[in-house]
């Protein structure tokens, strides 16, 4: 018990600083992933000349492992594009890219599930394509794919543990730093694993409740 106090409780400031970075990275990447996924999906569905590009990008983001993408963005992109300039940016970019590919496919499924008649009806009452997307399509897609979107957020949290590899100071980074100073991994690594498991469990439960509630309040059957 003494060890737990010395190695975990006394290090709580470092661990919470790490947890804060983890949460930040996850939310930034998630926001960009939703945006990127929406853009990729719309380009794939409606911009005919760019369709092959979007398809290849989506498949590439989905099929490459997150560690490979992370290192690729971190080491190859600065030479290619002169960006990202910090590890933090590289971490967020890689996490966002990976999830944007998955979310693009989720959104596409949602859009294709909307009956054609709704779009025709909206056009026939004189709504512009943008208005149709904003008022008719997007709300339904977001509702119907809410569980998949929430699930994608937990995937981001799991993948975010890898950003410690490129020295972003997240929870995993802080706990490994403590291990390297103290040479006593048992307590601190166990506590870190427990924190991650609890965090992801809470996030997925809260997200599921929220998604179900939203869907129920708009009259979509919840399994």
């Amino acid at each position: 018990m003494n060890n737990w106090h010395r190695l975990v409780w006394n290090q709580r400031d470092a661990l919470f600083a790490g947890l804060q970075v983890t949460v930040e990275v996850c939310f930034i990447s998630f926001a960009f992933a939703v945006l990127g996924g929406l853009v990729l999906c719309l380009v794939r569905m409606y911009v005919r000349p760019l369709r092959p590009v979007a398809t290849v990008l989506i498949e590439f983001f989905r099929a490459t492992p997150i560690l490979v993408q992370l290192l690729w963005v971190n080491y190859a992109w600065p030479e290619l594009f002169g960006w990202p300039t910090t590890f933090y940016q590289a971490a967020c970019t890689a996490l966002a890219l990976q999830s944007s590919g998955y979310l693009a496919e989720t959104f596409r499924g949602g859009i294709e599930a909307i009956p054609r008649g709704q779009r025709e009806a909206a056009f026939s009452v004189g709504m512009s394509p943008l208005l149709v997307f904003w008022r008719i399509i997007l709300p339904q897609v977001l509702l119907s794919s809410a569980p998949a979107i929430v699930n994608q957020f937990t995937v981001i949290v799991k993948s975010s543990t890898l950003v410690s590899v490129i020295t972003v100071q997240d929870l995993m980074f802080q706990s490994q730093k403590i291990v390297n100073i103290a040479y006593e991994p048992i307590e601190i690594l166990t506590a870190t694993a427990a924190m991650y498991i609890a965090f992801i469990y809470v996030v997925s439960m809260a997200g599921k409740l929220l998604a179900d509630r939203l869907r129920r309040s708009y009259g979509i059957a919840v399994r």
Binding site: E59, F60, A63, T64, P65, I66, L67, V68, Q69, L71, W72, Y75, A76, E79, L80, T154, V157, K158, S159, S160, T161, L162, V165, M172, Q176, V179, P185, I186, L189, T190, T192, A193, Y196, I197, I200, Y201, S204
Partner: protein, 233 residues
């Protein structure tokens, strides 16, 4: 820009080291195979526990699923490699160490057993109760029912879902490079440290994984669909 673009298209450096890199890729497949076997066995066990008639066993199964489904793979790999041997050593009163390969297999096997357990459970629950009642009334034992009635149907119904999970498991095998299992990513980082040219090496690695996952994923899906169509027809 044009220089680096030429460099990205010119993957010669990646090609030069092909023997080492191929050996690394083979390690990826070994880790994948070992972890997949462990994940399937543990997943089936957890799914059966969740359906058992004895409630503490049901809770145990649920705990297994919730813990491992919510555990990040990298954290589990690190924990199994650095903490588990110390705990086992403390019990055995002797020094104990895992080979990195064994740690990778255990960690990934346990994490993915959580996902497989849910897939198995969905497959088991989809079997009509009448099948089990009919089998029991014919006097079949529980083991025989599992082998002859439940598993054949579960395997068929869980095939599409489990292909996705096998693919994420294969993608997850890249993180074992971080505990020095000499897989493709490990070799790529080693060569990068010698050659100081990350661009062609990491791009080559990304393209390699992309092609493997895309080809393996789509051909497995086609095969599975055909097999299911043949059997269910």
């Amino acid at each position: 820009m044009s220089d680096s673009l030429r460099e990205i298209l010119d993957l010669q450096l990646f090609w030069e080291f092909r023997t080492v890199l191929l050996r690394g890729l083979a390690v990826n497949f070994y880790v994948f195979a070992a972890a997949a076997v462990l994940a399937l066995i543990l997943g089936l066990g957890a799914a059966l526990l969740r359906n058992s008639r004895f409630s503490p066993l049901r809770w145990l199964g649920a705990l297994h699923v919730e813990v491992f489904r919510n555990a990040p793979d990298y954290v589990m790999v690190v924990w199994v490699h650095f903490v588990l041997p110390l705990l086992i050593g403390a019990v055995l009163h002797s020094r104990f160490e895992f080979d990195p390969f064994v740690s990778a297999m255990i960690a990934l096997g346990f994490v993915y057993s959580g996902y497989f357990a849910e897939t198995f459970r969905a497959g088991i629950e989809a079997i009509p109760a009448g099948h089990l009642e009919a089998a029991r009334s014919l006097g079949m034992g529980e083991g025989l029912i599992l082998r002859r009635i439940i598993l054949p149907q579960v395997v068929r119904s869980m095939l599409p879902e489990s292909i996705n999970q096998f693919i994420s498991l294969f993608k997850a095998t890249t993180i074992v490079s971080l505990i020095a299992v000499p897989d493709l990513m490990y070799q790529v980082s080693m060569i990068t440290q010698q050659q100081m040219r990350p661009l062609p090496l990491y791009t080559g690695a990304a393209i390699t994984y992309f092609v493997i996952v895309l080809v393996a994923g789509s051909s497995l899906r086609v095969l599975a669909d055909r097999w299911r169509a043949k059997i269910l027809a």
